[in-house]
Structures are given as structure tokens and as C-alpha cells.
Symmetry: C2
DNA sequence: TAGTGTATGTTATATCATAACGTGTCAAGG
DNA sequence: CCTTGACACGTTATGATATAACATACACTA
């Protein structure tokens, strides 16, 4: 996970995790885990759904539903919004992707299966999105909710700011 | 129709904060503090902006931009979307209202001026929204971000679940 | 009063999302 | 085998949310 972010050449690409890593490895890894997860849960990772997940993984950043749709259409899948939205909804429901509401966009989950309710760090300059470990955040949030008698089922934790790279650039 | 939401008789209303309180009092109080805040910041709480804030306070729940627009139009203000969006943006920028992205809606801030970056607890049954104190949440989130070298400027913390009243109803 | 900055109003359009219905696929049970 | 039912996918149509761009009005001040 901490090996260089290597896309077959030594070239680096904008990295949503703000930390170099082997992208091709994590992509394949995630796909494999997605297959297993789907089987475990008794749901079907159909061609469209799988392809959407691949698209998100390849993009390695948050994509709008229509961005995804365009790519699907170019490959012979349906070219109407519900095609993309349904696949994306499936992925989100099954923990394989996340919806970033601030961006009206979706991105692949980098840690499927691990019970995590991540926080998202969104760079306002480059739009990169990182999944930050948020277990302590969840604990604090649950406590705050409990104080009001509220029971949390799902949450969206999104923060806007500057990623390390863009902090340097904006000095 | 836009009659003051008068709870001066001790009557309770569906309360987004999940805790009974004197609504007329907090509404007036918030408006007064908004005036002061605007003056302090050197920004203008114009009629439209003030009226939008009142509308949000009276509704006492999250309203969509078009809901707000409808009420504005009915009172002789402009009836085109930018009128509502601009006023709402102003209120959000100046800490007088919050945007609830999960609901594509806005609600008045109940604690303007106090430096708070609240978490929102959204009931999936009745759509009530509570502002939960989130200082510890912020601390945890800042720590998580710091670990990735990310600097948080703003954040949206939204949780979906069941409010106390709806927990009872769904048993 | 003319000039400047800001706010508002208006037109038009962009962007995001879903309802509703028809068709295809496939596996389980008759 | 062949029906049936569940599910996924494709398509049409529309709904809901949001902003760009420009015109007008207002408030201040020099």
C-alpha cells in the first residue's frame, strides 16, 4: 500500500489518497475483493456494475453519474441516466463505492469489506478526494447523537480544504 | 400563511432539535443576533436575505431553494431561482444558515455567531434535522486529516437515522 | 451629479436525478 | 420442456436542482 504509485512507468498521477501507492495493484485487489463480497452477500456483480466499478477505479477520483454514463455508452452499454444511476446505487448499497455529495459524484471504495465509515477529504483546488480513517470520528459522532436520543444508520462526513500538494501551490 | 410560528402558549411543535423549547423565543433571538453579526462583519442583511432567514426560521426545518423561492415570490420578491440561491448562499457564507446536502436543502442556523461546526442528524422518517454539538467530532476529524497532511477549511457532517420520536413509531 | 460597487431581477440553460414501462435473461418448480 | 417469477437492463419522458450571463436598481461618496 505504501509502494510508489506506479502506472507501469515511473509517472505519478494525481493521487486522491494524498499518499503514493501502487495503483494498478490496489485496483486489481479491490476488484477481486468486490467479486468475493458480492458472492458473500448473494448479490450479482453484473457486467455493467462491474464495469462501472472498474471505471471508478481507473479514474481514481470522483466521477459524476453522467461521466460514468458516457464511458458506458461508448462501450455499448445503455446510454440513458438510469443505467449509470442504478449501477452506482448498487455499488454504494453494497459498500463498493461512495457517494460524495459535495461533488455530486461517486468514487470507488478503496477498502471494501472492511467495516469502515470513512470521512472524505476533498481538495477544493484539485478536487482530489481521500478516504480518511474515521473510526474515532464515528465514535464522537455516535456520542453526540446518543446525547439527543438519535440513532445513526448512515453518515456522510465530508470535509473541504487543501490537500498537501495544493497547500504548497497556494502559498 | 407566513404567520409567526407562535409557541408563546407553551405548545410544542415537531422539533428538529429533538428537544422541546420556546420556538418564538429562539426565532426572534436568532434574528436579532443575525443583525448584529451582519453589522459586525460589514455585510448587509437586506430585505430578501432577512426574509429568507425568517422563512427558514419559521419553517423550522430544512427547505429546498425552490420552497423558499415560492414564498419569496408570493411576497413580491423575485420569482427566479437565483434570487433564492443568492440569498441562501449569503446566509450560509455568513454562518446564518446551513446547507444540508443530503436533502438538497437549507436550514437556519440556531447558533449563529458561536463558532460551531455542527453535525446534522437527519431523521429518515420525518426529515427533521437537528444540529448536534460536534466539537469532539471536529477534533477527531482534524486529527484524521492532519494524518494525511490535509487542512480542513469547511466540513459537512451529516448523519441519517431515526430521531427519538420516529424510533418509537417504527418499533 | 456622475461614478463606483453591490444587490436584485430576469432570461436562458446547464446539471443532476428518478418515475414508469417494456424487454431480456435465467433458474426453480410444475 | 415450458412456464413463471425475480431481477437486471434499456428506453422514454420528465422532474428537480443549480448557475451563467446580462440588465436594472440602489446606496454611497466624491
Amino acid at each position: 500500500m505504501t509502494s510508489p504509485h506506479n502506472h507501469s512507468q515511473g509517472k505519478t498521477c494525481p493521487d486522491p489518497a494524498f499518499a503514493p501507492h501502487d495503483h494498478s495493484h490496489c485496483t486489481g485487489d479491490v476488484l477481486a475483493r468486490a467479486e468475493v463480497l458480492a458472492a458473500d452477500r448473494g448479490v450479482r456483480l453484473t457486467p455493467v456494475r462491474r464495469r462501472v466499478l472498474e471505471i471508478l477505479l481507473e479514474a481514481h477520483r470522483a466521477l459524476g453519474a453522467y461521466d460514468v454514463l458516457q464511458r458506458l455508452a461508448a462501450e455499448g452499454f445503455g446510454n440513458q441516466p438510469p443505467v449509470a444511476y442504478r449501477a452506482l446505487e448498487f455499488l454504494v448499497e453494497n459498500g463498493l463505492a461512495h457517494r460524495i455529495r459535495r461533488l455530486n459524484a461517486f468514487m470507488a471504495c478503496m477498502h471494501p469489506g472492511e467495516d469502515h465509515s470513512p470521512a472524505f477529504l476533498i481538495c477544493r483546488v484539485c478536487d482530489a478526494v481521500a478516504e480518511a480513517p474515521a473510526a474515532p470520528v464515528r465514535v464522537a459522532l455516535d456520542a453526540a447523537a446518543a446525547g439527543l436520543g438519535f440513532v445513526i444508520e448512515r453518515s456522510n462526513l465530508e470535509a473541504l480544504g487543501l490537500c498537501p500538494a495544493c497547500q504548497a501551490g497556494s502559498a
